[in-house]
Symmetry: C2
Subunit: 241 residues, 2 copies
Amino acid sequence: MISKTQIKLINSLSQKKYRQKHGLFIAEGIKVIKEILASSYEVTDIFSKTDVFSLLKPTNLHLVTEKELKKISKLTTPQTALALVKIPPVKKVNLSGVVVALDGVRDPGNLGTIIRLCDWFGIEHLLCSPDTVDCYNPKVVQASMGSLTRVNIHYRSLPEAIEQTALPVFGTFMEGENVYQQNLPSEGILIMGNEANGIRDDVARMVTHRLSIPQFGANGATESLNVATAAAILLSEFKRA
Amino acid sequence: MISKTQIKLINSLSQKKYRQKHGLFIAEGIKVIKEILASSYEVTDIFSKTDVFSLLKPTNLHLVTEKELKKISKLTTPQTALALVKIPPVKKVNLSGVVVALDGVRDPGNLGTIIRLCDWFGIEHLLCSPDTVDCYNPKVVQASMGSLTRVNIHYRSLPEAIEQTALPVFGTFMEGENVYQQNLPSEGILIMGNEANGIRDDVARMVTHRLSIPQFGANGATESLNVATAAAILLSEFKRA
């Protein structure tokens, strides 16, 4: 059973302002919800077609019909369950290790994929410029596949955040040094730019090491890599050494 | 101006069976359309809010209003123009170099991103199992950003295609050899599996070199990388040598 008030609340959480107002976000799918239950994040309610979750943790489990689930799901094909999760307080930490910084990444799928990559490569901190898509956007949560709970995500002015560290700053530029020929350090900030416009001038000015990923295509007509695949290649280079 | 018949035709092209029936697919956005105009692909019609294309090539340019464009666009936020493009005949070729093979990749965004990656890394041939998402799906065309015209895409039974070559066959598996420690050849088939289920048994059986991408996360909770980011890391390793 699900009430009209609950449906209204859940649907409002597609928008950032209501996520912030209620301090809640949506996660869908058994796999993602299980990962969140196993983390320090607090799940307040689960709306599910099956009672698979009652075995895992005491929580407010609401058994719902397929039709009810369709009313609240943000997916084209709703999964078995949807959970409401509390947005955790922002941790204040010193940046260390390899830090990924996103300068205006707008696509939720790209951000989710980058969060999953950070988790895979053991990146603890992800810096996001204030205009980067919200990490609690339902599509980001979905694409991050539960990795969201294992990466510290900070929304801050990138120039300000960079100024406060002594870490070297890396960014990719057309005329940068071949990343395959670099001796990359174990600490540093790796900046990835916006999908269409790349890294903004005020951030680019703070880059101490300009890198490039060489292009192997015969005709050189491809202009760029997708930001998430470029991040994958760069993180692989930082960590493989 | 756009007629009702044209609107009906264009909207039918969201479905593979109508794309095959009419031999046409849709491409949206000035950047993507310009890349297609510069290729060997034949554009039959362009529906555009501006006449930017008339300077480029003689083609059927239809000036349309924003409202008309909304009726035919497959995007949430329609771009300036939409083109109808002829599906080219399938080329019969011998596979050579590094070939990427997809075993049931279902997400259009993933396929589009992989096509763009192939273009970047100079991969000429992309093999797709018959159940891989259609490369002329509007979302694939969009995500491939014009790279579609520069990669030969073959839909075939992977076991049959692999049997007909003498190329070494690579795939990633949990227990595979660390890809960072391999001497990778300049020719071979790299198999990427389905998003949820990985590589199927009948294809896995034909893999001659089992690889793995090491995980650096502290807690080892991430189960997998997104298929497009895994492809990015592996292609980077094949080509960086």
